[in-house]
C-alpha cells in the first residue's frame, strides 16, 4: 500500500515538473513581450506592462511584420486548400480501386520516400527549377511546392479515415447508379468530415510553421512568410528584444488555438497516419 502511494506521488511530481517546464518558455516570452526595454534588461519581476512592442511590430512605419503575416495567411490557406483537394481525390482512388501495374502502390511508396528525404535535398533542385520557371519569390511557387510536400501526410491520414468507411455503403451507392464522383461527394466526404477537418488543420499548421522552403524560395518582403521573416527580424532588430519576443509569441497563436481542435486525431496527424492512436 505504501509502495502504491509513493508511486502515485512520484507520478504526480513528474507530471507537474513536465507541465511547468512545458509552459515556462511560453509564459516567459509572453511576459517579456509586455516589458519595456529597460525592464527587459534589468531582469526584474516587477514592471509596468505595455503593449508598445506589439504596436511597434504591427503599426510602425517600415515594419515588415504585417506583410509577413499576410503572406503566411495567403500562402497557407491556398496551399492547404490545394493540397486537401488533390489529396482527398487521390486518397479515395488509391484506397478503393485497383490499378494496373501497381500504380497506386508506387504512388504511396513515392510519398513515403519524399517524407524521409532531408528537405535540403529537395529544396536545392527546386530552387533552380523555380528560378527557371519564373516562380522564384512568388506566392504561387511556394503554394505549389507546399501542396506537393504535404500530400504524403494528407493522403496517408485520409486513407486511414476512408478505410474506416464500410465498403458496403459505397457498393450499394454504385448499384443505385451513382457515378464515382457522386459517391465521393455524397458519401465519402460527409462521412470523413471530422477526419478531413483534422487533416486540414494539421496540413495548415505544418505549412504555417515551414521554414526551409520559405527561406530559400523567397527573398522579398512581398512574398516572405512569417518563419523566415522572424529569422530576418532577429538579424535586423539586433537588440530590440521587446519586438523579438512579441513576434515570437504572436507566431505561436495559431498553434495555441488550433491544438484545441485536433485533440481527437493528434496521434494520427503527428505520426503521419502511421499510428491510429
Amino acid at each position: 500500500m505504501v509502495k502504491k502511494r509513493s508511486i502515485a506521488t512520484i507520478s504526480i511530481v513528474i507530471m507537474l515538473i513536465a507541465f511547468v517546464l512545458t509552459i515556462l518558455p511560453f509564459l516567459w516570452i509572453f511576459i517579456t513581450s509586455l516589458k519595456k526595454f529597460k525592464d527587459i534588461m534589468s531582469g526584474s519581476f516587477l514592471f509596468d506592462p505595455t503593449f508598445k512592442n506589439y504596436r511597434s511590430l504591427f503599426f510602425e512605419r517600415g515594419s515588415d511584420f504585417p506583410r509577413y503575416t499576410l503572406n503566411s495567411v495567403i500562402i497557407c490557406i491556398s496551399a492547404t486548400f490545394l493540397c486537401l483537394i488533390v489529396s482527398s481525390l487521390a486518397s479515395y482512388s488509391v484506397s478503393r480501386f485497383k490499378f494496373p501495374g501497381h500504380l497506386d502502390k508506387i504512388v504511396l511508396l513515392w510519398t513515403l520516400i519524399l517524407h524521409m528525404i532531408h528537405p535540403m535535398a529537395i529544396v536545392l533542385p527546386v530552387f533552380i527549377q523555380m528560378k527557371t520557371l519564373g516562380l522564384y519569390d512568388t506566392h504561387l511557387g511556394l503554394i505549389l511546392i507546399y501542396a506537393t510536400i504535404w500530400m504524403p501526410l494528407a493522403i496517408w491520414m485520409l486513407k486511414g479515415f476512408i478505410e474506416d468507411i464500410p465498403k458496403s455503403l459505397q457498393d450499394s451507392a454504385f448499384i443505385d447508379g451513382c457515378s464515382t464522383f457522386q459517391v465521393f461527394r455524397c458519401i465519402i466526404v460527409p462521412l470523413i468530415a471530422p477526419g478531413l477537418a483534422a487533416t486540414t488543420i494539421f496540413v495548415f499548421i505544418f505549412i504555417w510553421n515551414e521554414f526551409i522552403f520559405a527561406l530559400i524560395l523567397t527573398s522579398s518582403v512581398k512574398v516572405m512568410t512569417l518563419p523566415p521573416g522572424i529569422a530576418r527580424l532577429s538579424q535586423q532588430y539586433f537588440i530590440k528584444y521587446g519586438e523579438m519576443t512579441s513576434a515570437a509569441f504572436f507566431s505561436t497563436i495559431p498553434a495555441l488555438i488550433l491544438v484545441l481542435f485536433v485533440q481527437k486525431h493528434i496521434v494520427r496527424g503527428l505520426t503521419f497516419g502511421a499510428v491510429k492512436g
Binding site: 490499378f99 529537395i122 521554414f211 518563419p227 515570437a248
Partner: protein, 291 residues
C-alpha cells in the same frame, strides 16, 4: 464523354496528385542526381548543368568539415533520441498512472510540437541570453557568479542545442507511448493480478512487451525526424561557434548558399539520402525479423 470520364474516374482522381508529384517531386530528384555530378554554382543558374564525373567524390574525400558535420549530426541524433525516449516514456507512465483518459495535461504537453520550430529556436535563444535570459537570471539569483555562455561556448553549445530539441520533441514520444498504453487491454493485467504478480513483474512481463512495437515505431520516426533538424539550430547558433553545432542540414545549406557550390552540396544531399535509406532499411529489417 461522361461515359469516358466515369470509366476512367479512378485515373482522373489520381491524376492531379501524380502531376504534382512528378513535377515537384520526381523531377527535382532527377535534377539532384544530375547536379550531384556537376560543378554547378549559384552563378550558373539559367545555364545547362555540366557533367564532371566523380570530381565531387574527390572533393568529399578531402572534406574534413563534412566529417565534422557527420560527427555532430550523429552525436545530436543519438543523444536527443535516447533522452527523448527515456523522458517521454517516464512521463507517459507517470501520466497514465494518474489519469488514463486524454486530458487537459495532454493538450498542454503537446503544444511545443505545434509551434513553429523557428519560434522555438528564437525563444530558447532569448532564454539562453547571457544578460537577461531567464536561465542565467535565475542562476545569478541562486548565487552563481559567472553563469555559462550557453551558445557561445564551443564545449557546451551542442548540448544547449540538444536541450532545445529535447524540449521540442519529448512530447512526441510521450504522445505515442501514452496512446500505446491506452490501447493495452485489461485482460492481461487482471490475469496477472489473480496470479499475484508484483508491480515490477507486471511491468516487465506485460506492459513492456505489449509496448515494444509502439516503442520501436516511436524510435524509428524520431530518428528520421532528428536527422532533418534545421530550423532551431539555424537561429540558435547557425552552426557555430566554429563548427560545433553544424549538423548536416546546416552544412549543406552553407555549402550551397554561402559558398555557392550547388553541385557539391547536391552531392552531399545525395550522400545524406543514402545514409538515411540505410538506416531506415536497418530499422525495417529489425521489424521484419521480430514479427
Amino acid at each position: 464523354m461522361n461515359d469516358f470520364l466515369e470509366r476512367n474516374s479512378k485515373y482522373i482522381f489520381l491524376m492531379p496528385a501524380i502531376i504534382l508529384l512528378i513535377v515537384f517531386g520526381f523531377f527535382p530528384i532527377i535534377q539532384l542526381l544530375r547536379l550531384s555530378f556537376s560543378s554547378f554554382t549559384l552563378y550558373d543558374i539559367g545555364e545547362k548543368i555540366d557533367f564532371t564525373g566523380f570530381k565531387n567524390v574527390k572533393n568529399l574525400m578531402g572534406d574534413k568539415t563534412f566529417g565534422q558535420s557527420l560527427k555532430v549530426t550523429a552525436t545530436f541524433v543519438v543523444g536527443v533520441v535516447l533522452v527523448e525516449l527515456i523522458l517521454g516514456f517516464l512521463i507517459a507512465l507517470a501520466v497514465y498512472n494518474v489519469i488514463k483518459r486524454n486530458s487537459f495535461f495532454r493538450t498542454v504537453f503537446v503544444v511545443p510540437m505545434m509551434v513553429p520550430a523557428i519560434t522555438i529556436g528564437m525563444i530558447w535563444r532569448l532564454m539562453y541570453n547571457t544578460e537577461f535570459g531567464i536561465i542565467n537570471s535565475v542562476l545569478r539569483e541562486l548565487g552563481v557568479i559567472s553563469p555559462p555562455l550557453w551558445l557561445a561556448n564551443p564545449d557546451i553549445a551542442l548540448m544547449s542545442v540538444m536541450v532545445v530539441d529535447i524540449w521540442h520533441w519529448t512530447p512526441f514520444v510521450f504522445l505515442l507511448i501514452f496512446a500505446g498504453l491506452q490501447s493495452i487491454p485489461e485482460e492481461p493485467y487482471e490475469a496477472a493480478a489473480l496470479e499475484g504478480a508484483s508491480d515490477s513483474q507486471t511491468f516487465r512481463f506485460i506492459t513492456l512487451p505489449l509496448l515494444s512495437k509502439t516503442i520501436f515505431i516511436t524510435l524509428m520516426l524520431r530518428t528520421v525526424l532528428a536527422f532533418k533538424a534545421f530550423d532551431e539550430l539555424f537561429i540558435l547558433t547557425s552552426g557555430g561557434p566554429g563548427n560545433a553545432t553544424e549538423i548536416i542540414g546546416l552544412y549543406i545549406y552553407k555549402t550551397a548558399f554561402s559558398f555557392g557550390k550547388i553541385g557539391y552540396s547536391a552531392f552531399l544531399s545525395l550522400i545524406t539520402i543514402i545514409i538515411m535509406l540505410i538506416i531506415s532499411g536497418i530499422f525495417r529489417l529489425i521489424v521484419r525479423s521480430t514479427s
